[in-house]
């Protein structure tokens, strides 16, 4: 039997309405009865339009948001039932890479400080000495195809693709098993995107990682993912094997998204 890495069970999230100086805003149903399960070692894609609830779901998996109802389990552990200490330990196993490599790196921290920060945060769980941390930093950079000569430089000295590599190195620092990738390549050039996608494939093969991959770009999802779920206004409208959904979409929404997808191919 395949092991389940992440299980989202009937999760709903309602942001309460607010009364402010610009009038009242109604409550927002950001997630409605979302259920899906991600198997260990696979790449699971989540696709949906802006505002459809993708980031809300990611934040819930990181326990930065508490679902209004339903439960989220990581390797069988229910996030809602864990103690603070257990949650901290779990967090070292679930990491995230964000869309914008420019915004998500602190310009005043060196690459060394950036990639070792999670080691400091998860010190309790990982318990590394300073010496071990330095070794780990060099190892992480080489994993993402950079070198230890980059360790003492600052983010502004790097290109977009290199910054995204640094973000990936940081996410890998605590030795996670599940990586949440929130549009990791959409701010990059196609050439750099290709390099980052290849890197993600390679890392998954080497480290046995599980990916939860969020994207607007269906071509990228089809390339990287084994299975995919489509989300529209907080509801999952279709999920299944990538090949099946791309070749024979069942829902109107899937057909619309796939129809809007441009194909560019070098003729042989």
């Amino acid at each position: 039997m395949t092991e389940i890495m992440l299980e989202i069970d009937n999760v709903s999230k309602i942001y309460p309405g607010r009364r402010g100086i610009f009038g009242t805003s109604p409550e927002v149903h950001a997630l409605k009865n979302v259920s899906l399960s991600v198997r260990k070692g696979e790449s699971f894609g989540l696709v949906g339009e802006s505002g459809s609830g993708k980031t809300t779901l990611t934040r819930s998996i990181l326990h930065l948001e508490t679902p209004t109802s339903g439960s989220i389990r990581v390797q069988g552990q229910d996030l809602g039932k864990l103690s603070e200490a257990e949650l901290r330990r779990l967090r070292s196993r679930v990491q995230i890479v964000f869309q914008d490599p420019y915004a998500s790196l602190n310009p005043r921290m060196s690459v060394y400080d950036i990639v070792t920060e999670p080691l400091v945060i998860h010190h309790e769980t990982l318990g590394l000495t300073n010496r071990q941390r330095s070794d780990r930093a060099a190892e992480l950079l080489s994993l993402v195809g950079m070198g230890s000569q980059h360790l003492h430089r600052y983010p502004h000295e790097f290109s977009g693709g290199q910054r995204q590599r640094i973000c990936i190195a940081r996410a890998l620092a605590s030795g996670p098993e599940l990586l949440l990738l929130d549009e990791p390549t959409s701010a990059l050039d196609v050439s750099v995107q290709a390099q980052v996608l290849n890197l993600l494939c390679e890392l998954q093969d080497r480290l046995g990682l599980t990916y939860f991959f969020i994207s607007h770009d269906l071509a990228v999802v089809r390339y990287l993912c084994d299975r995919v779920a489509l989300i529209n206004r907080g509801e999952i409208v279709e999920q299944g094997d990538c090949a099946q959904i791309f070749d024979a979409p069942k829902s109107e929404y899937a057909r619309m998204l796939i129809g809007a997808m441009p194909e560019v191919k070098v003729p042989a």
Binding site: S50, S159, H216
Partner: protein, 345 residues
């Protein structure tokens, strides 16, 4: 014969920076007629934005120096205009959508006021724009401009547009602000629209909507468009023509069907093969190794040579000139005529 809407001829631009002088545009030639949408593609740092900024003359000199060439708008050289003459052209004859903060919305003014101001400025040249009689009073013009502002917001997909005219920019989400900027660029019915990555931050369905809007505006107002993007999919969906830029040169250009259907320049082919397709197997995406060269000391001859799989010693002796390979389709590579045989193996 009338002059083309936009004709950039042999434009050379040098940029002074701390490290030296960079040859950032190195003999750009581009002609855009009314009714055409030209995609300008290439990796970041290839000079796409500087080409756009040059046409709207928003690139300050210094640090920029135009060392040769001309930028003709219906025959008039924009490089020879004074700042105030240029100011009058912008927003009226040349509309712009940039992600650059200089053209962003002013946070202190309501969305509607900002749109109305642009519409009224454009109406000075052509009262048709807001649909007012030439002798109409100020009040009447303002009202007409406000009505138009509401219509434009609706056209760019802002729900409940009339009610939102009195909002301030901070009350709009990022994607909505981008749509307001697009409305602002189109409201004066410019002859030429320069759009620099207008949909990069938006998702596929909003992107499709905005691109459709640009296409319809080209038909309705008979404009010409330069659409800067690094997304070849967007080009395939939207543009009539495309120019591929590499390190300050246009390396391949022509009608979209010709260039995308039959790319001949090794750089164009490499860019296209970096996009995953239905057939791409996992882990087998052919990335384009290396990066755009430093333009202070660019490589000799063909600037793509250090990354080109077909490079030969002859490639580095002189900058390749564009070679015609079909109707209006050209590529700057000394081996274009061998390309068919080369890619077969």
């Amino acid at each position: 014969m009338t002059a083309p809407l936009l004709s950039i001829r042999d434009l050379h631009l040098r940029m002074s920076s701390f490290d030296g002088r960079a040859h950032v545009l190195n003999g750009i030639n581009l002609t855009v007629n009314r009714g055409e949408i030209w995609g300008l593609v290439g990796e970041s740092g290839c000079g796409k934005s500087l080409t756009g900024l040059s046409v709207s003359r928003l690139q300050p000199t210094p640090p920029a120096h135009y060392t040769a060439g001309e930028i003709l708008l219906e025959g008039q050289d924009l490089l020879k205009l004074s700042p105030s003459q240029m100011q009058r052209l912008r927003g009226k004859r040349i509309g712009m959508i940039f992600q650059d903060p200089t053209t962003n919305l002013n946070p202190a003014f309501r969305i509607g006021e900002q749109l109305v101001d642009v519409a009224l400025a454009a109406a000075d040249r052509d009262p048709e724009v807001i649909g007012c009689a030439p002798n109409a009073g100020r009040r009447e013009c303002r009202q007409a401009a406000r009505k138009l502002a509401g219509e434009m917001l609706t056209r760019v997909g802002i729900p409940n547009a009339l009610a939102r005219l009195d909002d301030y920019p901070h009350q709009f989400s990022g994607g909505m602000r981008q749509r307001v900027l697009i409305a602002m660029a189109l409201i004066g019915r410019p002859d030429l629209l320069i759009a620099d990555e207008p949909t990069t931050a938006l998702d596929v369905s909003v992107q499709a909507q905005i691109l459709e809007l640009i296409k319809n505006s080209v038909k309705d107002f008979d404009m010409g468009v330069v659409l800067i993007t690094h997304n070849l999919g967007v080009v395939a969906q939207t543009c009539s023509h495309v120019a591929v830029m590499y390190a300050g040169n246009i390396v391949e250009s022509g009608p979209v069907a010709a260039v995308i259907g039959n790319p001949v320049h090794p750089y164009t082919r490499a860019l296209m093969s970096a996009i995953p397709t239905r057939e791409t197997r996992r882990g087998e995406l052919r990335g384009l190794a290396g990066s755009v060269p430093n333009l202070i000391t660019p490589p000799p001859g063909c600037r793509f040579a250090p990354r080109c799989q077909f490079a030969q010693p002859a490639c580095t002796t002189a900058m390749p000139a564009p070679v015609s390979v079909g109707d209006n389709h050209a590529a700057a590579c000394i081996r274009v005529n061998e390309m068919e045989a080369l890619v077969d193996d």
